[in-house]
């Protein structure tokens, strides 16, 4: 059960709609050319790789989700999977995205801030449109579903989660991928951070001047190759290994030595049972920004030495953010199958400071394994190995985690003085409100070990909602001007994770999850999987949500008109080692708990109460809520 054979793929991006088109596009002499955005107005002359809109679904789904559904259809067909077969199996769904988890609809915000709550449809479609949860409802599956928003590594992170679900036996089939579209907020935000190029991007070139954003979605179906073979589908390649580390350094900048990126690559190689010499080529992150390409090029040369062969495919696609890791895994498998590594486009004069130059023509592939890297905001590094399938081995099984600590912010906490003291303690100058709440909750734990063996999972429904509102105000109030860069960099879902990682020196895998259907349960379930697969020894889960104009309005409507404040935070530290046990063990429930009441941070009140009275040796159960308690208003009421 434990190998993650790739039995189906679907993709849509600038070089092509569908795997066959992309297969041609990767090697075609003329690649797509980015153009000025056509979906929104802007004064900026920055080209982007937009692709044609997929068909309307009639349900008001956002663009990233529609791209995802399009790629999903192809992947399921490729894997010869029917809905009936999916319902009969333990299916996990992991999707990486940035735009689908940003509550950043500009016209909707403009209405809400004038007090006009008559049309909240875009905000409700955000609630309904969390990609992983959406797919679970759409396909009628019942396994775990997580939407991960780790900025530019999100798609690769979804694949790593899929691999761990399969290795541990948590799932026997996983639908994993990523989706994003070029939004005005990301466009203005990346411009404010001075990382966009006014020209078509040229990764690793001496004259590179930044990235171009792009639309895309990619989906991979992962399962044991034997299971696929039973349907007549040959899974020749597997996702053989994944490594994920955190710089714990800065909210947007990579740490200049690339130490943690190197560790991520080495972890992925080890899990795939390969050495650097076995890797034929590397599909690099290669965004085209001066800093990314310099750090990444140096690290790859350090690991692979003279044998290094690498390219960036972003000159064909643009930087597709949450989709990038997923579509690049698809590209990597295509190049292995075609036995030809594609060139790094528009790198006409390679940066002389790079220790090794990228491929400038396509070259034959003789090996059977390749690497794909993804680097994100906040120093989140993910490396994936795609290789020929190995024989199956038994799965690791699931362990029951020990609870090493739990804390819940009291109502009306934290006060400003407490937050100011925390910021001074850790040298934080401008953390956003959601990060402040998360930090105050984490700080209340008895002990907080950091290091390489600690993983961090943050959970939220609305994300940094008040910071997002500030960004939207900025766009509405100063339409002719640039937006404030830190407003944008603090409004991304993984801002809190980056900050907590830096504060506590957490260098293990870090995942920022977003969702509305029991995201805290999903996070605890994922933590159990990570501990079972031994990718870390402890997991810090921090759930937080903050009150903003928009989150209040949506929450009030979502909860049937009862005014609600969604603000709160809690922290749960889980460990594999019984010596770290402080409050007993955590059992992740299978049947649903229809009676649960949720605290503002999405934590079931019964779970928090059980932990308050728990002691070593007790067993605490965390069950998901019954679907009825999601209380989404039906379409007729909007």
């Amino acid at each position: 059960m434990s190998r993650a054979g790739i039995s189906g793929m679907g993709v849509v991006s600038a070089p092509g709609d569908g795997v066959p088109a992309v297969r041609r596009g990767l090697y075609a002499p003329e690649g797509p050319v980015p153009r000025l955005p056509r979906r929104f107005e802007t004064q900026l002359t920055l080209p982007v790789f937009e692709i044609p809109d997929p068909p309307e679904t009639g349900e008001g789904e956002g663009l990233p989700l529609r791209f995802l559904l399009h790629a999903l259809e192809e992947a399921l067909k490729d894997a010869k999977l029917s809905r009936g077969e999916l319902r009969a199996r333990r299916v996990g769904i992991a999707v990486g995205t940035t735009e689908a988890c940003q509550l950043d609809n500009i016209p909707c915000h403009a209405r809400i801030r004038k007090g006009d709550l008559s049309d909240l449809a875009p905000a409700l479609s955000y609630v309904r449109g969390m990609p992983a949860e959406y797919l679970r409802r759409f396909l009628g599956t019942s396994g775990p579903a997580v939407t991960v928003s780790n900025a530019c590594a999100s798609g690769a992170d979804a694949l790593m989660i899929a691999l761990e679900w399969l290795r541990t036996g948590r799932c026997d089939l996983v639908i994993a991928g990523g989706c994003d579209s070029v939004s005005k907020v990301a466009f203005d935000g990346f411009n404010a951070l001075r990382v966009c190029s006014g020209e078509p991007c040229r990764p690793f070139d001496a004259k590179r001047s930044g990235l171009n954003l792009g639309d895309a979605a990619g989906v991979l179906i992962l399962e044991a190759p034997e299971r696929a073979a039973a349907r007549g589908v040959r899974a020749e390649y597997e996702l053989g290994g994944a490594g994920k580390t955190a710089d714990g350094f800065h909210i947007t900048q990579p740490e200049s030595s690339g130490r943690e990126l190197e560790r991520a690559v080495r972890l992925a190689l080890a899990q795939a049972e390969l050495t650097a010499g076995d890797i034929d080529f590397v599909n690099a992150h290669g965004t085209g920004t001066p800093v990314n390409d310099r750090v990444e090029g140096a690290v790859l040369a350090r690991i692979f030495g003279a044998k290094l062969r690498y390219q960036s495919t972003k000159a064909l696609t643009g930087h597709t953010l949450g989709a990038a890791g997923a579509i690049e895994a698809v590209f990597t498998r295509i190049m292995l199958e075609e036995r030809r590594a594609a060139p790094s486009r528009r790198c006409s004069v390679p940066d002389p400071e790079l220790p090794a130059f990228p491929l400038r023509t396509s070259v034959p592939v003789s090996g059977s394994a390749a690497l794909s890297t993804s680097l994100a905001f906040g120093g989140s590094n993910t490396a994936l190995v795609i290789r020929k399938c190995r024989p199956d081995v038994p799965d690791t099984g699931l362990v029951t985690p020990y609870i090493a600590g739990f804390s819940l912010l009291p109502e009306r906490a934290p006060e400003r003085e407490e937050l100011a003291a925390l910021c001074r303690k850790y040298g934080l100058r401008r953390p956003d409100r959601l990060t402040q709440l998360a930090l105050a909750a984490a700080e209340r734990l008895v002990s907080l070990p950091g290091g390489e063996e600690t993983a961090l999972v943050t959970v939220t429904s609305y994300g940094p909602a008040s910071t997002t509102c500030r960004v939207l105000d900025d766009i509405l109030d100063y339409p002719e001007e640039e937006i404030l860069p830190t407003g944008f960099s603090h409004s991304v879902i993984n801002a809190a994770a980056s900050c907590l990682g830096a504060v506590y020196g957490i260098h293990g895998p870090t995942f920022a999850l977003a969702g509305f259907e029991d995201p805290f349960f999903e996070a605890a379930d994922l933590a159990g999987t990570l501990l079972s697969g031994k990718v870390c020894r402890r997991v810090l889960i921090v759930a937080a949500d903050e009150a903003s104009l928009t989150s209040r309005a949506v929450e009030t409507l979502r909860c049937g008109g009862v005014p609600a404040s969604p603000e709160g935070a809690c922290a749960l530290l889980l460990a594999a080692d019984p010596r770290e046990n402080r409050l007993g063990t955590l059992e992740i429930g299978k049947e649903t708990d229809g009676s649960a009441r949720l605290l503002p941070c999405g934590v079931p009140a019964s779970f928090a109460a059980a932990l308050r009275s728990a002691g070593t040796g007790s067993r605490t159960r965390l069950a998901p809520l019954a679907p009825s308690s999601w209380r989404l208003p039906d379409r007729g009421k909007i």
Binding site: A192, L193, R194, L419, A420, C423, R424, G427, L428, R429, R430, P431, Q436, Y478, E481, E482, L484, P485, T486, S489
Partner: protein
């Protein structure tokens, strides 16, 4: 120092803490002759970009007029003097 200068410096300190949403500092922590960046207030290059945008929005100083940034941002006092001399609103 005349009263206008001292009153404006006070106001600007409060505004900076507010606009940049500095959590670890109050207006009293901003010293006239300390550097704004690295030591002193500890601002970074993105903060500089934001201050330039805010000078345009709040005081009507066009971004193109903010040349010689090393001098303007040397200390809080230098920044305050520059704004006082160049503000159009």
């Amino acid at each position: 120092m005349n009263e206008d200068v001292s009153a404006f410096r006070r106001e600007l300190k409060e505004n900076l803490v507010d606009w940049l949403q500095l959590m670890d500092k109050t207006a009293d922590d901003v010293k006239d002759d300390e550097p704004l960046f690295k030591e002193g207030l500890g601002l970074d290059s993105l903060d500089a970009v934001e201050i330039v945008i805010l000078m345009q929005r709040k005081y009507g100083i066009p971004q193109s007029q903010v040349e010689n940034r090393r001098e303007i941002f040397a200390t809080f006092a230098a920044l305050a003097d520059f704004i006082m001399a160049n503000r159009t609103k």
